[in-house]
Amino acid sequence: MPTPRDITSIIVENREVNPKIFLLSLNTSDLDIWSEAEPGQFAMLKIADMSCDDPLLRRPLSIHNVRDGKIQFLYKVLGRGTLLLSQAKPGTALRILAPLGNGFSISNSKTHCLVGGGMGIAPLLYFARKMKEQQPSNTIKVLLGARTKNELIAVQDFTEPGLYDVKIATDDGSEGHHGLVTDLLDGINASPGDMTVYCCGPHPMMKAVSNICRKKEWKCQISLEALMACGMGACLGCAVPKKGIGIQEYLHVCSDGPVFKAEEIW
């Protein structure tokens, strides 16, 4: 795993690709960090300048892609931090601490299924690309879900012909299967050991995916979120309850994750 660094990067593009969803492209002289970064790892970004106390903390964003010498993030405007980020113009400098955490690890299954829901699709693109690069013969299924068509992100990147086997679901049926992305997963047949599922999305969706996997005896990796202050294991703020009996113990999303084996949590 590459050692994280705290660098300054310049915004090259910051474009609204779907309503309230922005694609942020950054230039950096320190591209090593990014080429070494594992898919599923993340960065902590300081939106405004370091001397600004509002907002105070950096914000975590997953690495969405590394392309043409640029790093890309895909983010949704939720609160003040992402709102300010969305207003930043090309040329603006950002402070970035990256790459952080433990990403997805490619298992030795025959078939790999990437399941993304909503903004959870963001980290999967880079993972799909890296897997294709490293193990071109793998079968990569991609299941993408969102509430509605407008919230489906990065679809055209996945549906580039010949790369992945992509299926889509929307809650309102505005694109693809009318229903949950878990319906699509449930429909897949693969024997235990042949299949690994990699999942990122809303908490209930990941829980449902991990239940399906347990039932079907598939391996399952999930990428969790938590409120974070440091992103680097120093504050212990990003706790997530660990599966177990007896005294409740916690894992830390930033340093033990954000990608976990489903059975560590549920």
Partner: protein
């Protein structure tokens, strides 16, 4: 030509400079090695350690507030023995002074921790007294001068390491608490720990922290911290270590002028992991620029009418 002198003394302990990190905001030190050289710092204060391991509070444990943050980590830590057998081995790799912050539920727990740590090669012990005294109905040691005195005295009896008592700001009169620590035999007091605060999510109508209340830290609390450091340093003769919202060299100078002999940097480490190292450089630059030969000249240098 020799540069300005950055050394500071606390009891019999000489720090290479007055910049320490604050407990709970700097992990066990090693997490920060990509961003700074631990050996540049005056001291590293590690996460609070208790006798037994603690798993801490359920999430959410942190929330951002205006120019600050609340935390309710719940003093999660690996416990004394695992700390000594694993984390402490890591310290040995660095030529840096490590301070261990301890916490307990009773005077006995604090004493035991101190006795055990006395046999190790750490530089100093910092006692976090913002913990509830289980035997005395859960009132925090840090808000009752008599309890603060007792715990200080008990720890003092079990260690000859430099002893720092870390004070809670959630009191009517910080000078009384500082005096209690001094009378109990402390070599220094450090202040402030976090202010007790709370945040609510109006949408869910729930507290934003699972623990309901948490500790407020960051720039927001700096004016309160500065005032308490000023008050405490006028009351006690032992060194005062200033903590609260520090994130620039200027902040350090302000705390030292107010009476601090050294400072600890907390929340700022979480935002800017290299900041403590940069402040050491900044302080050196400041002294050079102003032709001040020793950083000690700043201590208590506030000009009041």
């Amino acid at each position: 030509m020799t540069g300005p002198d950055l050394k500071i003394k606390i009891g019999g302990w000489t720090l290479k400079n007055p910049i320490m990190t604050a407990s709970g905001t700097f992990g066990y030190g090693e997490e920060f090695t990509p961003y700074l050289n631990l050996e540049d710092l005056g001291a590293v204060v590690v996460k609070g350690i208790s006798l037994e391991p603690r798993s801490g509070n359920p999430p959410p444990r942190i929330v951002e507030t205006p120019c600050g943050m609340l935390n309710a980590i719940g003093l999660e830590n690996v416990g004394l023995e695992k700390f000594i057998s694993t984390k402490m081995q890591i310290f040995r790799k660095y030529n840096t002074d490590f301070v261990v912050n301890i916490l307990g539920d009773s005077v006995e727990e604090y004493s035991t921790l101190a006795a055990r740590l006395n046999d190790t090669d750490i530089a100093a012990i910092e006692v976090n007294i913002s913990c509830p005294n289980v035997k005395k109905g859960g009132v925090a040691f840090g808000v009752d001068p008599q309890m603060a005195y007792e715990v200080t005295q008990a720890v003092r009896r079990r260690t000859d390491k430099p002893l720092i008592i870390k004070l809670s700001p959630n009191v009517t009169d910080i000078t009384v608490m500082a005096k209690a620590a001094e009378d109990g035999g402390a070599d220094a007091v450090s202040l402030i720990n976090t202010l007790l605060g709370m945040a609510i999510d109006p949408a869910t109508r729930k507290p934003k922290l699972a623990n309901i209340v948490g500790g407020l830290s960051g720039p927001a609390i700096k004016p309160v911290a500065l005032r308490m450091v000023w008050q405490a340093s006028k009351r006690v003769r032992i060194p005062v270590i200033g903590i609260g919202g520090i994130r620039t060299t200027e902040d350090v100078i302000e705390f030292m002028l107010a009476g601090a002999s050294a400072v600890q940097i907390g929340t700022a480490n979480l935002i800017d992991p290299g900041v403590s190292g940069n402040i050491v450089k900044g302080l050196l630059g400041y002294l050079k620029q102003h032709k001040i030969s020793s950083v000690r000249e700043l201590i208590g240098g506030l000009k009041t009418p």
